[in-house]
Each structure stands twice: as C-alpha cells, then as structure tokens.
C-alpha cells in the first residue's frame, strides 16, 4: 500500500517522493524500533534487592535493570503486580522508564509492612515508539517471588506479661540452674552458687557474672494460627490474622524464657505449615517466630483445603505428652463450628488441652473508626455480631474451652492458663 502511494507520488509530482519516503522511513523506523526492543528486553539484566524488617518497618523492593546493549530503550511502560493485600506507599505501580544504552536504572517500590508471606511480581513492560504508533505485547522481565515479613515482638506486651504473672503470683521468678541448656549470662547476685560463676569472664573483664540455664519444663504448647480468608478482614495491619501472629510472637517470647516447649502451626485454604517437634528456649522461639511469617492470604479462590483434613493433620503431628493447644480461629458458620467441636473433643480424648481463641471480626473492622462511628458500625452489623457470639456460645455449650475477650487481654489470659496449669 505504501509502495503504491510512493508510485503515485512519482507519477504526480516527483518532489512529493521525498516527503513520502521520509514519512515512510519514519514509520518503518518506528516499527523497526519496537521490533528491535522486543529483542532487547530478553537481554536486560534484572536484579532485585529486598529490605525486609518486621511488620513495623516498610518493605523496600528495588529492581535494578541494566541494558547491556547499545540500543536505548526510549519508552518502556512498566507495571508491577503484587499481592493485593500489600499497600504501596512509595513508588508507582505503573510508569514509564527510559533505559539508556549500557546503563542501568532503579525502580524502587516501598510497601507498608504487614505480617505474612506476600507475592511480589511479576514486573512486566511494554515497549512503545516515541510517537505512540506501535506498541509491543506485554513482556515479563522479572518473575514473581515471595517475601516473608515476621511479626514485631511488642516489648510492652511481653513486659506486661512478666509483671502480671509475677504480681498475681501465678509464676515464680525464673528458676535458673535446674536445666542444662545454656540460656544467658547475668551479673552475679548474692546467693548465686559459685560453680555457676564464669571465671574466664572475671579474668578477662574483671566482672563477676554467672551462667544462667534454661528452666527445664516439659509442658508442650502448640499455637495454631488460622490465616484463611476470613481472618484477613479489617484495616491493613490490624486484621485478626496479623494480630494473632503478633500475640503469638509476644507470648512465645515470654514462654520461651520460661522454658516451655513450643511449636506452631499455620493453616489456611492451601493447607498446613507446621514448625515440627516442640522446641524449648531461644531455638524454639526462633522457629515459632519464623513460621509466623508464613501466614498468607490465599488469592486463588479455588484452593479450599477442608478444615477437617487440616485438623486431622494436626492431630497426627501432636506429641504423646499432654499439650496445650491454642487455636486462633473464627467461628463463622455452622459447619465450621461442628468441625471444631468434633476435633477439639478428639484432642481432649487424646489427653491434650485445647482452647479456641476467637476474634470478633466486627471489632477488628471497627478498630480504626472514630468513637461514634465505631459504635454505629457495631449497631449496623448487630446481626453479624450476634451470629459470631452465638457461635461462641454454641462451642462453649459443647464443653469446649473458648477465650473470647478483648484483643488486648488475650496474651494475659493465655499466659495465665499456661502458668496455672504448670504450677
């Protein structure tokens, strides 16, 4: 067609030929450029640098894209896909990048920190010519990967637990010297046995310190954190799943120091993640802490692992010794309630002591509302509230232990149960 127009211009006025050829050359060049850039994209060298702290610190993802060719990428539209629960607070989800030849650019994305495992990527681009006449198909230049954000250990909660247990007299002061597992060193205090003094420390630093051992305790404690879809309702960072993970982290920090054997299980629609055999002390806490960062929102709605199967898997993994089981889950519908009752009864029959800690979803959703709006939200969702409370009553009525208290009181309640049982 273009050749036809050129021929016409020759026939009419040869001077038009130059203009026709120039326009044709521009169009061909632009088209050629887009085709060329399609061959350049696979040659781009993409590296990712991640800065991940706990859920209180922002997550920084930096893509470094290096163009090793001598052809510049003039206009590359880019876009980043990521887990919908993440909130971008720095950078732009889509934009336009220019990558000069033999140079690199950095694309920085900053997300608000949230407990859990989230998907980042793919990073994809579309090449365009300068005039916007042509564009390529979407090309993925870096695939997806996962990031795991652990919960912050709230020192205030841990301190409050120590004060509460000491003042209420439900826990004696830490017993050191009974175990064999090394825990820490501390300054010498009158009354400490001389065999515990670290003489090397005295020789090198002229300080009198004593070795502390972990208190040996054989009480097994299992935390089961439900991170299925229903547990992700509420404002970002204040959902029941994240709150439960933070609570478990704080309680585990306290109980690890007290020498309990800890393990954790994370369940959602995709299945169960189990920390393995119960471990004591710092190792046990670290294992629990790592597994807590595995809570995740299952985006694929076709994945439905039945609660029944998950609870059966937990039952098979439980130790033979008496175990305190704290299940953080919601009691939403009748089927779920019946499954929970059945399996908790089963756990009891196996000699364990199961508890259900159930968050009231409406209270989580209203957490960031102004005071009056908070109450009006409760009023408007009275039906849902009542259904949840009725569910709790049903479970309680069947003799299952339930902890349904204010979120701020949950750690205290759990520690109280553990310590009183052990006393």
């Amino acid at each position: 067609m273009v050749a036809f127009f050129i021929a016409l211009s020759i026939a009419i006025d040869p001077s038009l030929l130059y203009m026709a050829l120039t326009l044709l050359a521009i169009v061909i060049f632009l088209r050629f450029y887009v085709e060329l850039s399609l061959h350049i994209f696979p040659k781009l060298v993409v590296n990712v640098f991640k800065t991940i702290g706990d859920d209180r610190t922002p997550i920084e993802i930096i893509y470094t894209i290096y163009n090793p060719t001598i052809v510049p990428i003039v206009i590359a539209e880019y876009g980043l896909h990521y887990s919908p629960l993440l909130k971008l607070i720095g950078g732009s989800r889509t934009g336009i990048a220019i990558i000069p030849p033999r140079s690199s650019i950095k694309l920085k994305f900053v997300f608000s920190g949230r407990v859990g495992t989230y998907r980042i990527g793919p990073l994809y681009t579309v090449s365009r010519d300068i005039l916007g006449l042509f564009k390529s198909s979407i090309i993925e230049i870096y695939g997806r990967f996962r990031i795991a954000v652990p919960p912050a250990i709230e020192a205030a909660i841990v301190r409050r637990l120590w004060i509460y247990t000491r003042m209420a007299g439900i826990a004696k002061s830490r017993v050191s010297g009974e175990g064999i597992e090394f825990y820490d060193v501390r300054e010498y205090m009158p009354g400490d046995e001389l065999r515990k003094v670290v003489w090397r420390f005295l020789a090198s630093q002229n300080r009198l310190v004593v070795k502390e051992s972990e208190r040996e305790s054989y009480q097994h404690i299992l935390f089961v954190v439900d991170s299925s879809r229903g547990m992700w309702f509420g404002p970002s960072r204040q959902t029941p799943a994240e709150h439960c993970a933070r609570i478990v982290a704080a309680i585990a920090s306290y109980l690890a120091r007290r020498g309990y054997l800890l393990s954790v299980a994370i369940l959602n629609e995709s299945g169960l993640i189990f920390s393995g055999k119960p471990l004591a002390g710092a190792i046990g806490f670290r294992r629990v802490y790592e597994i807590l960062s595995s809570i995740s929102y299952v985006e694929d709605e076709t994945q439905i692992q039945q609660l029944h199967d998950i609870l059966r898997s937990i039952a098979l993994k439980l130790p033979r010794e008496r175990t305190l089981i704290f299940i953080f889950t919601r009691v939403a519908d009748e089927d779920r309630i019946q499954t929970l009752i059945k399996w908790l009864k089963m756990f009891e029959a196996m000699g364990h002591i199961p508890y259900i800690i159930t968050p009231i979803i409406v209270s989580y959703e209203a957490i960031d509302l102004p005071p009056l709006a908070q109450k009006l939200y409760y009023v408007k969702l009275y039906g849902t509230l009542k259904q949840e409370l009725d569910g709790i009553n049903t479970i309680k009525g069947c003799g299952v232990r339930v902890i349904a208290t204010k979120p701020s009181d949950i750690p205290q309640k759990i520690v109280e149960i553990v310590e009183l049982l052990h006393k």
Binding site: I12, N47, I138, Y377, K396
Partner: protein, 476 residues
C-alpha cells in the same frame, strides 16, 4: 540474585486501524484534488531514463563511485562543489546555446577547483559549448560508415584512454576534429549528409572520432563523436568492454581528484507525455513497454481518474433509489442489518494503559463502613432496637439487670447520677416501644438523630460504670 527473564510473545500491532483508514481517505481526497496526473517519460539519452536509449546505467555507475547529480536546470549547478567537476553531455535532444554554455561554465568554475567537460555526441548540437570554452575540437555531424562492410554504420573505433586501448563499436558516429585525437576508425567512408547517403562520400584511411584538449589549467575537454556507446542497451549488453571503458573514462575525467563531482546534463533531454506514446512506440523494447505499461496502470489507479466517476455513479444510484418510497424507508433498515452482521462477533481492542495492581482491604460490609466514616449512614428504627439489645445485654452482664427493669435508674444512678440515669432509662424505653410499634408516641421520629443520641447517652452512662457499648463483644 538470579535473573528471571521470560519473553512471552513477540508481536507488534498498529495502534489504530481507524486512524489509518482516516488518513487513507484524506489521502484519496487530496490526490483527487491534485487533478489527473500527466506523467512524463524521459526520452532520448536522459540520465533519468531507464529505457533502452536512456543513460541511467551510466548514471548509476558514476553514482556508485563519485558524488553524482543530475542537472535538470541550470540553477541546480549552484549547489555543486568539489576539487573537480565533470560535466557530461550525451547526445542532447536540444542544442546547447551560447548563453547556456556561458552559464554552465561560469557556475562550474565558480564552485569547482577545475572542470572537465565531456561531450559524446554525433551531432554538432554541443559545439557552442566547445566554442565558448575556446576549444578547437568540433563535432562535424557527418556519418562514418565502414568501407569494407557494405557501408555498415557500425565501424570499430580504437580509443586510447589511461594508457589502455579500447575497441568499441560505434553507431552512426561523427567525425571529430581538433584537439589531440585519442580515438580513430580506419578504412571508412565519411558521408557529409548525416540523413542520407546520397550526398558526397569521402573515403578515408583513418578518421578521428575522439579528442582531448587542455584549454587551461582549470578546463579539460573530452569529445567522442558518438553517444550510443553509453546508452543503457549497450551498457546492459554482455559486452563488458563498454562498462570498463565507461569506468576508465570517468577516472580519466576525474583525474584522480579526491572530491570529484559528476554532473549529468538532463536539461537538454526531452520528455514525452505518456498519452503521446504512439510517437515513439516503434523505438521501444519489450522491457521499455513493461515500464511504460506500469506507469499507465498507476495513472489509471490514481483516484482522480476513478473516484469522481465512482462517486457520481453512486450518487446517481442513490437518487434513483430514493425516488421509491419503499426503498427510501428500507435502505436505512438494510444498512443497520448490514452493520449488525458486520460487527457481530467483532472484538474492539483499545490502546489502554497497563493494568494497575488493585489493592484490597477486606471488610464484611465495605460500603456500609464507607458510609459510616462519611457520616451518611442511614439509621432506622431497627438500628435503635439493635442498640437497645446490645446495651441491655451489657447492663445485664454488668449489673444484673436490663434496661426494662424499673430499678435501673436507682442502681445505675449511684454511679451516673439518679436524674441522668432516669432520663436515659425513660428515653431508651420510650423509643424502644416506638420502634417496636407498641406505642405511637412520639408520632414523628427522626431515627437518624434518635439513634445517634441513644448511642452517645448509652456510652456516657456505661462509661460512668467503667464499661462501654463495645463490651457487648466480650461477654465471656
């Protein structure tokens, strides 16, 4: 970090087909406005002519080695430059006048370090140029024919150039006099009258057909009494000697100058309208006819040829159709049906920006939450009943009695004040009965304000006894 690259699909697509169609329509209208094309075909020995008698092949040879231009007008000589300029004239259709010679030579001398003029002509049409530069060479315009081959007009010439001898077959060549001869034919008959052999005939043992002359330090001239050896049909033939000769001649003319510009004279070549084909069709080869036929086809494809008659015909048909009322009404309907058929199953793709990641915050009732935050939530009597039930439950859990108990104000009054408690108790029960429709008083209730007031007062009373409406969710 490892690199994960994936090329999913390699394809490109035009942004908008509609835009292209609009541009084509505009182009068609613009071309129609330009009028019917009148293509001209260069005839004779024009360097632009690809026909058998053109010299476009020589032009291509020169262009492949030197900076080469075609001068269609004298003013085009204003743009040439170089240490050496070579002006080539091959069998011009029109005589070069004295004024033209003056203009050509003066412009070239102004813009070039030195010039060389090459004339290949069997007619004396270029002699004015030779005369202007004070050259002694002249093309006599007679005809040299073979004596030994029945007066064949194709004598063999020996031309010496750059220390090489070239034997070329001339065609109706003319004798060249003056200068230093470099080309000669032997044993020939010279016919004075170029158009007929009826004139006086002269036998010559040798006749000169090519000469060179150095006019000054800056002007050289080379003349060959025949232009036919540079025609396309000769240079395209299997005889490579002509190509070699042409290359050698160009080197000779450029004399080793680094920046040599070769100018082909096309201003003295004639052109013919394609409609006057009959005048020269006899001289055309099959290849020439194909070329002219292509131009013919392109001329007929020009929108100014077919678009106006096509539109006129369509217009006439429409006028005919619109005379009939049935057709008048049914045509729009048919158009709509056709449009529906054509567009059925069509997928329209727009050039849209990349899809942006959607961020989620999950709520049981997101719209309600938004309405509550924006204070545009609709409150009804049902909401009052819900509030009453919630507050009632909290009070029962706290003090062991509900809002319906007559001793309520007395017990709660110890903490919140008796009068305040009584007022609150009366307010709550009055509107509770109204919400349940057990009472018609007050007849007109703005539930929006009543519920808000009830919430605020309930919270105030509960706060005074160390509780809150929110305690409803933690009764265990």
């Amino acid at each position: 970090m490892s690199m994960e690259l994936m090329l999913k699909e390699k394809s490109s697509r035009l942004v908008s087909i509609t835009l292209v169609l609009i541009l084509i329509t505009i182009g068609l209208i613009a071309l129609t406005e330009k009028g019917i094309p009148r293509p001209q075909i260069p005839v004779g020995t024009s360097p632009l002519s690809p026909l058998s008698y053109g010299t476009s092949v020589l032009y291509q040879i020169a262009r492949s080695r030197y900076n080469t231009i075609v001068a269609l007008d004298i003013d085009e000589l204003n743009t040439v430059a170089g240490d050496r300029c070579v002006y080539i004239v091959i069998s011009p259709s029109y005589p070069i006048t004295w004024d033209e010679s003056k203009a050509i030579v003066s412009r070239l001398l102004q813009r070039c370090g030195s010039i060389a003029i090459f004339i290949a002509d069997e007619e004396p049409t270029s002699n004015a140029l030779l005369q202007y530069i004070n050259s002694s060479i002249r093309v006599l315009g007679n005809r040299i024919v073979n004596f030994s081959a029945d007066f064949s007009p194709y004598p063999k010439a020996f031309i010496v150039l750059n220390s090489n001898a070239y034997i070329v077959v001339l065609d109706l060549a003319s004798e060249v006099v003056g200068g230093m001869p470099i080309g000669v034919v032997h044993n020939v008959v010279v016919i004075d009258n170029a158009s007929s052999i009826q004139g006086p005939l002269t036998y010559k043992l040798r006749a000169y057909v090519a000469s060179v002359e150095r006019i000054s330090e800056s002007i050289d001239v080379v003349v060959i009494g025949d232009g036919s050896i540079f025609l396309n049909q000769v240079l395209n033939s299997n005889e490579t000697i002509y190509i070699k000769f042409a290359n050698s001649l160009l080197d000779f003319l450029c004399s080793g100058f680094r920046t040599c510009t070769i100018i082909f004279d096309a201003m003295h070549s004639s052109t013919a309208n394609i409609r006057e084909l009959d005048k020269f069709i006899a001289t055309l080869s099959p290849q020439d006819l194909l070329y002219i036929f292509t131009i013919y086809i392109l001329t007929f494809l020009h929108p100014s040829i077919w678009l106006p008659p096509a539109l006129a015909t369509i217009n006439k048909q429409f006028i005919y159709l619109f005379r009939e009322p049935i057709l008048y009404f049914s045509l729009p309907l048919l158009t709509l049906i056709l449009l529906y058929i054509l567009r059925r199953g069509e997928t329209i793709l727009r050039d849209e920006p990349l899809t942006s990641q959607r961020e989620l915050e999950l709520y049981i009732a997101p719209e309600l939450r938004k309405a509550v935050i924006e204070e545009r939530v609709r409150l009804t009597s049902n909401d009052f009943i819900n509030l009453y039930t919630m507050v009632d439950t909290v009070f029962k859990n706290l003090i062991g009695m509900g809002l319906d108990d007559n001793r309520f104000s007395e017990v709660v009054g110890r903490y919140a004040g008796v009068e305040k408690s009584f007022r609150y108790w009366r307010f709550m029960n009055k509107y509770y009965r109204r919400a349940l429709r057990k009472s018609i008083w007050p007849p007109l209730v703005l539930w929006r304000y009543v519920v808000r007031r009830a919430v605020e007062e309930s919270e105030s009373i509960l706060n005074s006894i160390g509780s809150s409406i929110l305690q409803y969710t933690s009764p265990f």
